[in-house]
């Protein structure tokens, strides 16, 4: 029959203990049953009044709350709806003298055929996360966006051997990843670098490499490359262009398809520098240019024909203008005609802003049957940015400037 225990005042204790009336060992456990047993059992409640609460204290020993059939659907619940009030489940071991004095919250499922031990975090109508062991997925520890470790999206996983995986994205320092980025280290480190490193500390084995690798899916995939970027300013990319015979490239853009290619190496090792200053030009007949001391810049009267000019530094009037301070390999050659017998001094020279490079000869002494004489000149020239270089022919001692250019070539490139 229902009944109440009344008249218990503050400071009174109600004690339930088993005492064997005849003394001796107690061989069965004692129980405090709240609820009803027998047919049509009803739920029982252990309720703390407002302002008080229910405290369960113990001396040495264990307080266990266990649910067995038919009560195996019961949950242990803390519920509060008082505004501004925090509900706390606390496990506290206050001893500070013994390293074994742990405070542990343990979640354990029955075994390999059981469920998952996990913690579930939920904002009603909002975000949801779970963290724990996924018993259906090789016992991976997981952080997911679902109600259990096997629901939602795997955000972070780890094997028991410590292989940590972020299947979607992983960011250090910032929760906002750059576009199309899955792994990022974004920091505002004033005066020190923001750095990603692969380090192998072994120094005993030549196979103990430290490697940073980029890899695509295969021949039908995209490129593998790294990007170097000054924000809002300049970018360079370097890597393998999967759409250009797997050549290794450096470009001036944020990918291998953007900007200009500044370096290209084929898989066979042939290297080109498509924007490196390099030019080649020639001129055909140009009559009466020198012979009596006229110092003639080849390309002046008859424009040179440009064969190539990779960096737009050559003018068909015969002038090369250096874009940067460097050393340039320059070469010139020419066949000069109508060489009179008196024309015994001649020089083919490369004239740069800083100095001349000359080939001297006696044209009249070295003519072919058509009274033509050839000359060649070459130089590795130091040039400052915006310096000029021209190919000049100067022949002396003739009666007049009647010597001709039959043909001439001028070419060069930035060497070092």
């Amino acid at each position: 029959m229902p009944g109440n225990i009344n008249g218990v005042m503050w400071g009174d204790n109600i004690s339930f203990s088993l005492t064997k009336p005849s003394g001796g060992d107690i061989t069965t456990d004692g129980q405090l049953i709240i609820g009803s047993t027998g047919n049509n059992p009803q739920a029982g409640n252990l309720t703390g009044a407002v302002g008080s609460g229910i405290g369960v204290t113990n001396g040495a020993g264990t307080i266990a709350l266990a649910f067995s059939s038919p009560y195996n659907e019961a949950d242990f619940t803390f519920t509060n709806s008082i505004a501004g009030n925090t509900r706390t489940l606390s496990v506290s071991q206050t001893d500070n003298t013994n390293t074994a004095s742990n405070a542990e919250l343990s979640l354990e499922s029955g075994g390999a055929s059981g469920g998952d031990p996990f913690l579930h975090f939920l904002v009603t109508g909002g975000g949801e996360f779970s963290t724990g062991i996924d018993n259906t997925d090789s016992d991976l520890w997981k952080l997911t966006s679902g109600a259990t470790p096997s629901a939602g999206t795997d955000l972070l996983t780890s094997t028991s051997a410590g292989a940590l995986n972020a299947p979607v994205t992983l960011s250090v320092g910032s929760s906002t990843l750059p576009p199309n980025t899955q792994l990022a280290n974004v920091q505002a480190n004033v005066g020190s670098p923001s750095q990603i490193e692969a380090e192998n500390t072994d120094n005993t084995n030549v196979e103990s490499h430290a490697v940073l690798a980029t890899k695509n899916g295969g021949t039908n995939g995209g490129d593998c490359f790294t990007v170097y970027e000054i924000t809002g300013d300049q970018a360079f990319s370097t890597g393998i262009d999967n759409s250009d015979s797997d050549s290794y490239k450096i470009t001036t853009g944020g990918s291998l398809d953007l900007g200009s290619v500044v370096y290209k190496m084929t898989s066979a090792g042939e290297r080109t520098l498509p924007l490196q200053p390099a030019f080649g030009a020639f001129v055909g007949a140009d009559a009466d240019v020198t012979g009596n001391g006229a110092d003639y810049v080849i390309g002046t009267n008859t424009a040179m024909t440009q064969i190539f000019d990779q960096n737009a530094d050559f003018n068909t009037n015969g002038t090369f203008t250096s874009p940067v301070t460097a050393n340039y390999q320059l070469s010139g050659s020419g066949l000069f005609g109508d060489i009179a017998g008196a024309m015994t001094s001649g020089v083919l020279k490369i004239v740069t802003s800083n100095r001349d490079y000359s080939f001297f000869n006696n044209p009249a002494g070295l003519v072919n049957a058509a009274n033509q004489s050839g000359m060649v000149v070459s130089a590795l020239a130091d040039m400052d940015a915006a310096d000029t270089a021209t190919l000049n022919i100067l022949i002396l001692s003739g009666v007049g400037n009647t010597a001709d250019i039959v043909n001439a070539e001028f070419n060069g490139f930035l060497a070092v």
Binding site: S260, A312, N315, T319, N354, D384
Partner: protein
């Protein structure tokens, strides 16, 4: 016709001596040649990147006149060039103030040349300033390097200050700059 670099450019006496050590032409002529090179490069780069697209819009003949072509190209929809930036400035170790004007009245260029320069260079006048300052920097450095080795070999003491060194080197017996050194065969 347009004017560029009308604000001018000044050099010091040691600057001038270092330039004369190597140049056959005046600093102003060197600068004019530098500007010609810049203009040629600007026009060639615009033609390289945009002339084919321009040709697709033309029925009939194309006039071979840059004064027509360059404005047409730079006014095309979507026209854009990756502009050449002025590099980081270097510091010329001047003690004596730069006081001699070498670009008096600047340089005259065609309208289309100015258009091309502004399309290709972020700051054409800044670029000219940089070229000139770099030229002075490089020639002063080269002259010091060249002459220091000589004085050390001759066991001759020389000033540490760069301006004073250049003056000292030019006052040595037998010193000749390039123009003075060149002999006709």
């Amino acid at each position: 016709m347009k004017k560029i670099c009308s604000k001018g450019y000044k050099i010091s006496k040691p600057d001038e001596l270092a330039l004369e050590r190597y140049l056959l032409v005046t600093p102003k002529k060197w600068s004019e040649d530098a500007l010609t090179g810049m203009t040629n490069k600007a026009i060639k780069l615009i033609m390289r990147d945009w002339f084919e697209k321009y040709k697709e819009t033309i029925n009939g003949n194309i006039t071979p006149d840059f004064s027509v072509i360059i404005p047409a190209l730079t006014n095309m929809e979507g026209f854009k060039m990756n502009k050449i930036q002025v590099p980081e400035a270097m510091t010329v170790k001047r003690t004596e103030k730069a006081s001699k004007e070498i670009w008096d009245n600047g340089f005259d260029i065609e309208d289309y040349e100015e258009m091309a320069l502004k399309a290709v260079y972020e700051d054409p006048e800044g670029m000219m300033d940089w070229f000139m300052e770099n030229k002075i920097f490089q020639r002063r450095k080269a002259m010091v390097k060249e002459q220091e080795v000589k004085f050390i070999k001759e066991k001759k003491a020389f000033p540490a200050n760069e301006d004073a060194f250049i003056d000292f080197a030019c006052n040595q017996n037998g010193y000749k700059n390039r123009k003075q050194s060149e002999e006709l065969i």
